[in-house]
Symmetry: C2
Subunit: 370 residues, 2 copies
């Protein structure tokens, strides 16, 4: 993997990640393909709207269908027919948010599957093994996503665990990579809760181990926006200039603007896809709920300013009907629109950085009621 | 509408229906688009797999979003972005199968909506008004679908009602068509239950009124296959040669073979689409249930003999995973396959008739475990 910074506008960076499977222009938004599919989308639709990289979830794919099955069926790329770059998470976040009866020890995490109650044990070595078997292009170190709220004591303990697991992740990754021609890139994850000194210490330790990219985890876990923006603001400058900076799980468009301004390059969130399925759609004027009665006879597109397939071909009235009738096409058309809207937003962000007017761009959009 | 018979093989007919919105090669299978969408499909996907005509349901669209709303939003074609021919049913069948508290009088049917319990009254004039407002290319006379089983007395009464409603449907259709440049074609429907003499009488009365095409209704309502095949066999010859013959609601592939052999030209059924969503898939070897454990690690396509998007790009293992994970893409890929399989089957039927070897074709497929 190669990362180049092609331009800046303030601290905002225009960049390019080159992987053997394709190029990712940054700042990039990664649609989430939890279970080996970006919900409701075909790979061609994703490519058509300009998605350059997607995310897969280690926890889900490990439990079902199992990483060895995915490996036999062509790795995640062949399995889901997505030829471009894929980033997989470490599995940690979902273990903490979905599984039950979790028990964290210095060795790893034991938990019960949310699907069938079966017992499992995930540790840095297994996380690396799964992500290698899936064949992802960018993989994440196994971490503990520090919950919110946490005491300073807990956050410190969690940080230390994450550092230890990062080291073990890197070791396992190196062993799995030995003798292979194409190997994934490994990103480290910074934790530290809401405590600036712990965040700084985590950044120091994780960058000290050395990774191909650096992610900030443990944000958007329930904390006030001010705390999140504080972390975004003070974390970016202490992460290495020459590596991609990934703000995990952030998808609010205003938060993306703040994070890009601070120097983050990569984002992922289920917000555009999940909201789409719930009938909440992003437009250049703000969010709309497509089920509202005012749209019943409305012949205009969702967003007259949008060039997506949905906006070019369907009326608000039709989209409202499909949503109320719970038709599958509703989820498809809404998802196409929301993802296109996000990807177009990122294209506009990149254009603004290239033309060194990101501050102006941010000012223009920051008040939109998204 | 123009209908031409281009060739025959025994009683099987190769034909072509020409409408202002496009051509339909017959024998034709019409995918069902109940609520203004063929479930899980985009119009482009339907066109891409060779669908030339689709069906819309008057009952559903009348209740939601309402035919006046559809009319305002471009008619059914504009509403759902389907530029080709559309056939709408009369609403009768769904009133009898879905609505509650039905009361049939000589004037029409009063019923309660299955959606919200609201009370409605549907008669031939309203059925025509709805179908004209939807802007369908082929519309159906309002009939009573005679239930199974019925006494001869009930079937006779139902037949007489259907004849009276057919006459009133034609009158209302003519009034609605007056002064319009493009008007839909109207098909009459033969009833008569399981009684050959009543079927013959219904055929005589309906063809006596005169329609652009003739449909046989009240089949596949629970009767034994032998009864259905009897009706198919003795009905086709008494329907006018020069008009399309439509066997309503029939979608079993073997039944289609029998009906084509007898001289039927048009078919519709939810079988390929509904089965797809339930994980039951049609292949050249017979039906398969994609959830079966034997497919877990199977890298082969659903049907190696199939050229559909799903079979060209995905493994049985992936399709099984998507189905078990209840992913929307499962319904999409399965529906694409089943509809393609049906449409390809019809293409092969047409080729066999064109080459005057339909009997051989039927013999080849009639034993397949579909």
């Amino acid at each position: 993997m190669k990362f180049e910074v092609l331009g800046t506008s303030g601290s905002a960076r225009l960049g390019r990640i080159t992987t053997p499977r394709g190029t990712v222009n940054t700042p990039a938004f990664m649609p989430v393909g939890t279970q080996g599919t970006v919900k409701a989308m075909s790979p061609e639709e994703l490519t058509g709207m300009g998605a350059e990289i997607i995310l897969g979830n280690t926890y889900h794919l490990y439990l079902r269908p199992g990483h060895r099955t995915v490996e036999k069926l062509g790795g995640l790329h062949g399995f889901m027919n997505w030829p471009g770059p894929i980033l997989t998470d470490s599995g940690g976040f979902q273990v903490f948010s979905l599984a039950s009866l979790r028990k964290i020890t210095p060795e790893g995490v034991s938990f019960q599957s949310h699907l069938d109650g079966s017992r499992h044990f995930l540790d840095p070595a297994l996380s690396m093994e799964i992500q290698h078997a899936l064949g992802a292009d960018i993989i994440m170190a196994f971490d503990e996503c520090t919950p919110y709220p946490s005491t300073q004591e807990y956050a410190l303990h969690s940080l230390e665990l994450t550092t230890d697991w990062a080291l073990r992740s890197r070791q396992a990754h190196e062993e799995l990579s030995r003798g292979k021609e194409i190997t994934p890139s490994l990103f480290g994850i910074i934790q530290g809760g809401m405590f600036r000194d712990l965040r700084m210490r985590s950044a120091e330790e994780i960058t000290g181990i050395g990774f191909d990219g650096y992610a900030v985890g443990g944000v958007s876990v329930g904390e006030p926006k001010e705390d999140m923006h504080d972390i975004i603001g003070y974390m970016a400058p202490v992460l290495p200039d020459r590596s991609p900076r990934y703000l995990m799980g952030i998808g609010d468009l205003k938060d993306i603007l703040f994070a890009v301004e601070s120097g983050f390059d990569m984002f992922d969130c289920v917000m555009p896809t999940r909201n789409a399925r719930n009938g909440t759609l992003f437009t250049s004027e703000g969010r709309i709920s497509i089920k509202r009665a005012e749209y019943a006879d409305d012949p205009s597109p969702l967003d007259p300013a949008c060039g997506c397939y949905t906006c070019r071909n369907y009326s608000r009235g039709y989209l409202r009907h499909l949503f109320l009738a719970r038709e599958i096409l509703s989820m498809r058309l809404n998802t196409i629109h929301n993802l296109y809207f996000y990807l177009e937003f990122m294209r506009n962000i990149r254009a603004a950085i290239a033309e060194q007017r990101f501050g102006e761009f941010k000012g223009q959009w920051i008040e939109t009621p998204w």
